[in-house]
């Protein structure tokens, strides 16, 4: 009905939330590839996807959390702790596949722990996960004694290495994992009752509760997913580095949050799409990769990343004010 009006007034904020993330990604790709032709090399692209996949996995989980107006700062620590667990078990002789499986289950449990504290302790997600970020990181240091966990069992085991180092049809194996989990996360968020309830919870928790949504259970499940996907990232990273580093995943929560926000999801909850988060993760990946190729110092890289995130958030604010 208001078509004429919308046409007349070009709304930057609205444009960004609809097509912006994708457009920003395209512009970024074109810009970087003009500046440095090696960007589009197959090798570099594979490298880029490899770098993106762990962050993207964490960001998919973060997407659910942020849709409920929550936040999970402990994802990097969960990644490290579950990775260290799996590595320890492999060194003790457990088949790598089984160890990976137990590792991700542990990650899910850590996430459920976060969720239970938030749902039943009625505590702010920011504080709860700030605390558990410290707890899980500390536990990782205790477990690893502060040293990387590694050994010949890792270096010579194909079933260990395929996850983070293997290729299938010329594409890193972890990229397939990322895509599979993207599809699952997408379906979960946009096609199931679980996703609908997640949006409802983020839109108005009280109204969702009155409408019969088991909000406590839902919150626990969502943080469980976040923990689980972080742990999947932990398994990939452990395999990729052929060791579990005690400080693995430090700062990963920031990249994941940035990916979600860049993808157009509102930190106030209730609004955002899974596709946006995938694009957001790719933007961060291209940004990192591109700046490396262009020889920009890592000090400046941080400044640029910060500015990009700020711009996205301000555009988002502008849109919600309109």
């Amino acid at each position: 009905m208001n078509n004429t009006e919308t046409k007349k007034k070009f709304n930057m904020g609205e444009f960004y939330s609809k097509l912006g993330p994708l457009a920003a990604l395209l512009i970024l790709v074109i810009f970087v590839s003009i500046m440095n032709s090696s960007f589009l090399n197959v090798n570099n692209l594979m490298n880029l996807f490899q770098q993106v996949s762990v962050n993207a996995l964490i960001a998919f989980g973060m997407q659910f959390v942020i849709l409920t107006a929550g936040i999970d700062l402990s994802v990097g620590s969960i990644l490290a702790l579950s990775g260290a667990f799996a590595a320890q078990m492999i060194l003790m002789g457990m088949p790598p596949l089984l160890a990976f499986l137990i590792g991700v289950v542990m990650g899910a449990i850590f996430g459920a722990f976060n969720g239970a504290l938030i749902a039943y302790g009625k505590a702010a997600p920011f504080i709860v996960t700030l605390a558990t970020m410290s707890v899980f990181r500390g536990a990782t240091y205790v477990l690893t004694n502060g040293n990387p966990i590694t050994g010949p069992k890792m270096n010579n085991s194909l079933s260990f290495q395929f996850l983070g180092q293997g290729y299938l049809f010329g594409i890193p194996f972890q990229v397939y994992i990322m895509i599979i989990f993207y599809v699952i996360a997408y379906l979960l968020l946009h096609k199931t009752t679980f996703g609908r309830k997640t949006y409802a919870l983020g839109g108005n928790e009280k109204a969702a509760f009155v409408a019969g949504v088991n909000t406590k259970k839902l919150i626990i499940l969502i943080y469980t997913i976040a923990g689980f996907l972080s742990a999947v990232g932990g398994m990939i990273l452990t395999s990729q580095l052929a060791s579990a580093q005690p400080d693995a995943g430090t700062g990963y929560e920031m990249d994941a949050i940035a990916a979600v926000v860049l993808g157009g999801t509102s930190l106030a909850g209730g609004k955002g799409k899974m596709f946006g988060t995938l694009v957001g993760a790719l933007i961060i990946g291209v940004l990192n990769n591109g700046m490396n190729l262009l020889g920009i110092s890592s000090f400046y890289q941080q400044i640029v990343k910060g500015i990009v995130i700020l711009t996205a958030v301000l555009l988002d604010r502008k849109q919600s004010q309109n």
């Binding site: 009905m1 379906l187 096609k191 199931t192 009752t193 679980f194 609908r196 309830k197 949006y199 409802a200 839109g203 108005n204 009280k206 109204a207 969702a208 509760f209 009155v210 409408a211 019969g212 949504v213 088991n214 209730g270 609004k271």
Partner: protein, 496 residues
Amino acid sequence: MQIELKNISKAFGPNKVLRGVDFSIQSGEVHALMGENGAGKSTLMNILTGLLDFDGGNILVDGKETRFNNALDAEQHGVAFIHQEMNNFAEMSVVENMFLNREIKKSFGMLDMAEMRKQAKAALDRLGADIPVGVPVGSLSVGRQQMIEIAKSLMNKTQVLIMDEPTAALTENEIAKLFDIIRTLKKQGVAIIYISHRMEEIFQISDRVTVMRDGVSVNTYKTEDTDVKQIVHDMVGRDMGDFYPDRNPKFGESYLKVENLTSDGVFKDVNFEVRSGEVLAFSGLMGAGRTEIMRAIFGIDKFNSGKIFIKGKEVHISSPEHAIQHNIGFLTEDRKDEGLILDASLADNIDLPSIDGFAKHGFIDKKADKDFVDMLMKRLGVKAQSAKDAAASLSGGNQQKVVLAKWVGSGSQVLILDEPTRGVDVGAKREIYDLMNELTDRGTAIIMVSSDLDEVLGFSDNIAVVYEGKIQGEIATKDATQDKVMTLATGGKLDE
């Protein structure tokens, strides 16, 4: 000081809220102002204290025509208003609150805390209130917070003090204490305008009573020359039009039955039952506990003891999820806060309680879902361009229909409607009543909580009246009168 309000009138747009009100008050007098919600009491007081402009009439202060520009102006002339909702800053200390925006300063803008503390103490002492001035206001009981408000107003040499429902949140001890203070102030020559719904208090504390109804001051009495009956009659004595559709109920079996439901300090020994096809109204004054009873039944709040039966079978409901499984629906009092997800679409709001029914292995059947939403929007007459519109974009009446659609869709056989027509315009009101009729014709049992006495009498089959957390009495609507309901609602008993 003497204030006289003469023939005051006021309209909000086409809506005339005051149509010639007379009211007066003099030093050393407690003058009670009574009337139903919406009678115009608060508007009148807001006009007196300069919060609102008025269209006609005069305000005479000591015989001189006066018009206060704003609350501050009124305060400086000795007229203070203690609102029902106290405007405290809970985290700030007593003295900080008392001197907010009129801090005493030393040189360089530094606060003179010592002087402020001294004056705050003096003001509280005058009331005989022993309250430490350094603690945060939020840590004190409501009664004590009120004393602070009174003390604050007394610091300005207040000569006329307006109190709006001052006892609404107080315990009996606190009320006794408040009355002592009122008597002290009276002796000191302060004039007090006392707004309250509670009959007993009026007769305990006031010298004169003025009753307002529909924007008119009906009568002013000396308290000793009148009685409850007279006042209730003045408060409600009006004819009802045929605004409400007829009820032709056919009662079926008992659907929901509640036995001795108790939540300590909130409600006690609540017993009632509602049959299929029945509209059972819950009447009572604000804060009597009606909403709290319903929230407990629906599993939002916990209760301490008592039983709930559905079709004669005891059920244990500990969350709205359970309540919905037992086919109960609940339209909450506050539709924006608990009824709707305002930013979400109408469709997403309507199907939320039923969404599990459209899922195969968790995946939503889009077509079935859409058909369901379309059918409900049509059936309830929701006026919107599309089911994809945000709930926030609708009018109050349409929003209420969306909430109703949600509960009709979830298959509710008991519908608890808490203030179903609040904030709804007249036309939509009628549509909601017609819907309720249609639902009860199909056997739904409806509990209607309402503060609108006309509505309760005009559109229900039976009326349960709640007073201070108890059901004071239940009457068949055909035998009920406004006087009877008001008597019960203010704690009285019906003699045969």
